[in-house]
């Protein structure tokens, strides 16, 4: 991945999170504790604020620094989870060292794997992983088939939508909604929603012609 792309994505993600305040917050009020949007805003804001400082650095260092900054800024569950995502992605990017779509998919998959390990969670527990795991699988599959970045971006937006929708009828077994039992059924997960927003934002950059 390219430093330019990561930093453009980081600015776009901050704008997208702020634009989706109402959606994210209403989901968190329904079955969470009302702090998810505030945490996402604080995290995306601080990542975006690193733009000038990170611009001269190679991509893996950029990812790692974003991870470290999120770890000391967000708190809550999102902090360690997103930090683990970026720090693992950084490690694999450094080892691979090229910008092929397959290697970006591998780095993304390592990031998602790190979230699963840190959160001791899997798909189907009404969390962000219900969006991230299918997106990661699909990304790897399409990259292996040699699809173009634009084709992949269109497909991943749809996968993210399906993943988000899949949380509606789940009972939460991880995260703050885990105390609610069957009352969580019928509500989308706020963390899955913010991940869907972020996936869409990054994919839209690619569709508009940005080179990952």
């Amino acid at each position: 991945m390219k430093t330019n792309f990561i930093l453009s994505a980081s600015l776009a993600i901050h704008a997208a999170i702020v634009a989706h305040e109402a959606d994210i917050e209403s989901l968190d009020r329904a079955i969470g504790d009302g702090d998810h949007y505030i945490n996402m805003k604080r995290g995306s804001e601080v990542a975006a604020s690193l733009y000038n400082e990170l611009l001269p650095l190679p991509a893996d260092e950029v990812l790692n620094k974003i991870g470290m900054k999120l770890l000391s800024t967000i708190g809550g569950a999102s902090g360690p989870l997103f930090a683990s995502f970026f720090m693992s992605m950084a490690k694999v990017s450094k080892q691979n060292g090229s910008d092929s779509l397959l290697e970006i998919a591998a780095a993304f998959a390592a990031g998602v794997q790190a979230i699963m390990q840190r959160g001791k969670a899997q798909i189907g527990e009404k969390t962000m992983l219900d969006v991230l795991v299918p997106v990661s699988h699909q990304f790897t599959l399409l990259a292996a088939e040699g699809k173009s970045s634009t084709e992949i971006a269109h497909a991943l937006k749809e996968t993210a939508n399906q993943g988000l929708e899949s949380t509606r009828n789940l009972i939460a077994t991880k995260g703050r909604a885990a105390g609610l039992g069957e009352r969580a059924i019928g509500h989308l997960d706020a963390g899955a929603k913010s991940c869907q927003v972020m996936i869409h934002t990054v994919c839209d950059l690619v569709i508009k012609g940005a080179n990952p």
Binding site: E25, D33, D35, G75, G76, A77, G79, K174, R176, R183
Partner: protein, 332 residues
């Protein structure tokens, strides 16, 4: 939202500064990263550090001082603190016998403390508190939440640490107190996170939330409002059932903590105490230790939690021992 606020982003820092200044004989505040320590560093003991989201005051910073905590790390409102805060606090207070973290069992707190311990250069252990019996179904793998019973764990472990006990012994007592403590909370209203500006959930005049945690998150069940005795009856029943399911005999001495969530008057908390103690006596439980007041709050939520700790000689000794903190003080 009608609250005493200057700037929303400054609420936490201004509140912590006021706290540290009001209790400057007992605590010292550090900012960036944010943590509080005893104003006089303890020597040659296991240091006890806790932390968690803000909005639960006096938990945890209010329990810093002799006989309880050595340091506390406050996060943003209802949001776990970050690993750099925990590392800085441990670095500041460690006294060569190891660090014991007391962590409420919430995903965020567990992960942040876990990441901190992975980077910590000292001997350490963690007691996870999980006294909330509202989370009953075993398929909920996040497990039970840590709520007001955490205060009892911090008090007892803090007392033991003052005697020079080693890290493993302190952890064992913390785990034991946690296992013998059960809580359940009822909310009459939600609460308002300052940065959100509105109540986390809506609730009618005729309703209550049974089995709430301490973050204004909805509880297990929305129920009809009813007389206090009927509400307390259901809470006591849940606690007794919880102890029975753990195989703990309940015909013994106990500590009863009636904790307000922030907007319930002491008059009502004592009424709850009156009701609960009578009901517990009916179960053969003799309440010989009590604590009534706002000890683990949820900002401005109206409601209360009932916590029962089954005592043994060791727990009794460490509950009764002297303590001197901003929020709990007796014996010295």
């Amino acid at each position: 939202m009608k609250k005493f606020i200057n700037q929303i982003e400054n609420v936490l820092t201004e509140s912590l500064s006021g706290f540290a200044s009001a209790h400057r004989d007992l605590v010292t505040l550090q900012l960036d990263p944010t943590y509080l320590t005893r104003s006089q560093k303890a020597q040659n003991k296991v240091v006890i550090i806790s932390g968690g989201g803000s909005g639960h005051e006096p938990l945890h910073a209010g329990y810093i001082g002799f006989g309880m905590l050595d340091a506390a790390c406050p996060g943003q409102v209802f949001t776990s603190p970050t690993p750099d805060q925990m590392l800085a606090a441990a670095e500041a207070v460690h006294a060569d016998k190891g660090v014991l973290f007391i962590v409420k069992n919430y995903a965020g707190d567990v992960m942040n403390f876990e990441m901190a311990t992975e980077m910590l250069p000292f001997e350490h252990a963690t007691v996870l508190t999980s006294d909330d019996c509202a989370v009953v179904n075993s398929t909920y793998t996040t497990g039970r939440r840590g709520v007001a019973g955490t205060v009892i764990v911090e008090k007892c472990v803090g007392s033991l640490a003052e005697t020079g006990a080693d890290l493993a012994t302190c952890k064992a007592l913390g785990d034991k107190v946690n296992a013998r403590t059960s809580s359940i909370g009822v909310a009459l209203t939600s609460c308002t996170v300052p940065a959100a500006g509105r109540a986390t959930f809506d609730i009618a005049e005729t309703e209550l939330e049974m089995g709430v945690g301490i973050h204004g998150e909805p509880g297990r069940k929305r129920e009809q409002m009813r007389k206090a005795d009927a509400i307390v009856h259901d809470c006591v029943q849940a606690i007794v059932t919880d102890f029975q399911s753990k195989g703990l005999p309940t015909n013994q001495e106990a500590l009863l903590l009636i904790n307000g969530f922030g907007a319930t008057p002491l008059m009502e908390l004592y009424l709850i105490y009156h009701s609960a103690a009578k009901l517990l006596a009916g179960h053969g439980i003799c309440v010989t230790r009590s604590l009534v007041g706002n000890y683990t709050t949820a900002l401005d939520m109206a409601g209360a939690s009932i916590t029962l700790c089954l005592l043994d000689d060791e727990i009794k000794q460490h509950w009764d021992s002297p303590v001197h903190t901003p929020a709990l003080r007796w014996g010295r």
